[in-house]
Symmetry: C2
Subunit: 478 residues, 2 copies
């Protein structure tokens, strides 16, 4: 599609209207479009390729930690959802129901999975008989449906893509280890693939998954100071296993319920990387998931030998494992620079007649705007190193941003000032639901996590002033 260089200027000012900036960026870069049914999204090729890289990177990590993939049906009998009391309360209002096939009414209504604990537990109850069948370590890549009132592409949509791990273990200790192991897999992935620093910890009772004993979370800070819950890992205890009568014969000859975990991340991660890294010019994609890691732009491409040299350069990079594209479109060089800045390609390489004479090309980094030249003979070695450096620089920036925007607060006056400055708030909490609810009602900030480091930052609850029990990070969130 032909585009106008002015498009870049049409992106809303991110300081003035961050939500509009987000919408402008995702639509103009063709990551996504709105589907015809309210709250649905179409993930366009440029967005879907980011998801493919996220999926492949995570899948490799899941397999390396002993998990295998499987696929469970999307339609769950409504009665299954009812079996775990907290679970049905959490999900029933937002489930899509299939009631008819053609003109025929179904005997039992079917839920389109909002998550798959119930149907997976039903199958596990058939598959697991002996302690030899444990641990059972299965993951699923699938679409799920949760009907939300307020939707935004990637962040909250009626249908989204995700993975959900579901494991069974013979001891509580082993299940709790698995819960934390997978949270760590996620954290390491965020750091080393998406170049995003996250805050990890435990959810409060109010914020935990419907049906879990404990929910652990990783929270990422978006550039507007809001938190994005980017992945969760749940210790489910025996809640589902007993509701679904999963039993195994243990070594001691006794029938027991196993201990369970589940954990997931979704296409929401694409929203996370846009809002953690972008700038006024558009996307700034972390190199390890960028569909085009390096764009090669021929300068004076009508001149003899330029296109050929650009293609040769791209071939050399491709052989070195770089995802590269030569932009040969009939547009000005300036137009292409703007276009690829907006689309967030981590590295741009220009090559024109004079460069060819000098045996070099010119690079320009999307992250720091640093420019330089590389000898053509060195590109296959230098470009991968540059991409690694871009990754490291982006991650350090994300880490600095997060850590410099967490403010310790001892009372609600400080709390409100910190929120106004688009910061996370670290504060003490008495542990009672009333204070948590009141803070949410008055400030719109919720308890994001009880960080693993529970070093107290005071003695009294930031809200009621009574003796404090927990160190909590509060923030506004997506």
């Amino acid at each position: 599609m032909q585009k106008d260089a002015k498009f870049v200027k049409e992106i809303a000012d991110m300081k003035e209207d961050f939500p509009q900036w987000y919408t402008d960026v995702i639509l103009k870069t063709e990551l996504v479009d709105y589907g015809p049914v309210k709250g649905t999204m179409v993930i366009r090729p440029y967005g879907y390729e980011i998801w493919e890289h996220i999926r492949d990177e995570l899948d490799r990590r899941f397999k390396a930690t002993g998990h295998k993939n499987a696929y469970f049906p999307m339609f769950i009998p409504l009665s299954y959802l009812m079996k775990e009391a907290e679970h049905v309360e959490g999900f029933a209002p937002e489930v899509a129901l299939v009631t008819h096939v053609g003109n025929t009414e179904l005997e039992e209504k079917l839920v389109v999975r909002p998550t798959s604990e119930t149907i997976i537990c039903d199958m596990y109850s058939k598959w697991v008989q002996s302690y030899r069948d444990l641990p059972l370590l299965i993951n699923q890549w699938a679409n799920v449906v949760r009907w939300e009132k307020t939707t935004r592409p990637f962040l909250r949509t009626s249908e989204f893509l995700w993975q959900e791990g579901h494991t069974l273990h013979s001891t509580e200790e082993e299940a709790r280890e698995e819960t934390l192991r997978m949270l760590e897999v996620y954290r390491e992935f965020m750091q080393n693939v998406l170049a995003i620093e996250v805050l990890t910890g435990k959810k409060t009772e109010k914020e935990k998954f419907a049906g879990a004993v404990d929910t652990y979370t990783m929270e990422a800070m978006m550039l507007d100071g809001k938190s994005l819950q980017s992945g969760t890992s749940h210790y489910l205890g025996k809640n589902f296993a007993s509701a679904f009568e999963i039993k195994y014969l243990d070594r001691d000859g006794k029938l027991k319920n196993p201990y369970q975990t589940s954990w997931g991340v979704s296409t929401r991660l694409i929203g996370a990387l846009i809002m953690a890294h972008g700038d006024q010019r558009g996307l700034k994609l972390p190199p390890r998931v960028a569909p085009v890691q390096t764009v090669v732009i021929p300068v004076a491409q009508h001149k003899e030998g330029v296109i050929e040299k650009a293609r040769e350069l791209a071939d050399a990079l491709r052989k070195a494992g770089v995802r590269v594209e030569v932009d040969e479109r009939d547009q000005s060089v300036g137009w292409k620079f703007n276009e690829w800045e907006m689309k967030g390609a981590p590295l741009r390489i220009e090559i024109g007649p004079r460069d060819i004479e000098n045996g070099v090309c010119v690079f320009s980094r999307r992250d720091t705007h640093e420019k330089g030249t590389i000898a053509l003979a060195d590109v296959a070695e230098k470009v991968p190193a540059l991409l690694d450096d871009i990754h490291e620089t982006m991650y350090r920036q994300s880490a600095d941003f997060l850590h410099s925007h967490i403010v310790t607060c001892h009372n609600m006056a400080e709390f409100n000032v910190a929120l106004d400055k688009q910061c996370f708030v670290k504060a003490m909490w008495c542990g009672c639901r009333e204070c948590e609810d009141a803070i949410k009602a008055e400030t719109a900030a919720s308890a994001r996590a009880l960080p693993f480091d529970q070093t107290p930052v005071g003695d009294t609850c930031v809200y009621c002033g009574k003796p404090a029990k927990h160190t909590v990070v509060f923030a506004k969130s997506y």
Copy 2:
């Protein structure tokens, strides 16, 4: 799960009851299980890994031919399905309908996609404006739902996984080329990955896709002589493009509808490889999609150094790119042999104390039962070559089987004899629907394809005796 060696004997006789043999094999090898909702299946890890290899192999081919992946919503407004007349007639009776979210009735009923032409065309009508936007070459990997009365895991299930390519072109010629290019991608994949010979050709009007101008098919012969439609590629003309008002401004300044194709294969391919290659002992997996290409079985594994040597051997194979597993379970060697024959591992390697002394291991091929020894120093070189040879042998066997089971028939007496002998029938046809319907009603065989090679095998229609127009392959089918 602990299993009994007798399991192998519990597989039904494939010559006496092929459908029961199929069911026994897929359940006992843990490829699949029945879901709680009628007609649904759970693809278990051993089956899902086969699908992962199929997906990766195909995806690489789609990308090499210029296609990109995207994801479109699963919920389609019911009104969309109505826009293309033949399409709605074909799919309306079997679509699952979402009517409610929680307790709230939706304003418009939503169809769970049986295929995505309609929603994709709606998006394409927004995206395509100029001839510069063509060709548009997009593929989607997704789940789809078609409510079928008679279901069987992998072959016909309410929900299944598939890929669907949807492309737009500025000329009919280019769209027809794409239709045949993708059929050829499928054929080459069947041959070089699944080791299955297929018959390719065009569908009759009766058998074509609802909404297509022409449907091309590849048909594989199962061991019971029935045909399994394994993939289709459709030339859609302007049928959907005009119904959905997809228009582009051509070079000549005129607004035009583009020409369209769609093409797909599904988890049905797993059914195809089971029924094309299996035997009385169970699965016989083609090496290029087998989850375990080589199983290493330690003999006298309690003896010092045996397990270690088996693991060392497996590591060497893994480094050579072989998917390998060491079966260290506390079971007898005989039990393991039976188990892995049933599960269809293409190559088995045994290694015991005497082998270690002699610096060799013993291999046994699943396809030919040929046995031999390999020097331990040579395994990394010899095993990949053996796996390639197993592939070639399996493919030649499939090709011989198909070509030796196609019988030319000149009248219905010959036709019935050929069907009784579990063969495909090659015969002439006048081209009228009445004869096609009558043949189906009397013999249960349908016109599978008009093969690309239309060399006549006679002058008159096999059914009515009037002048013949087409050479057709008829068969019973899944």
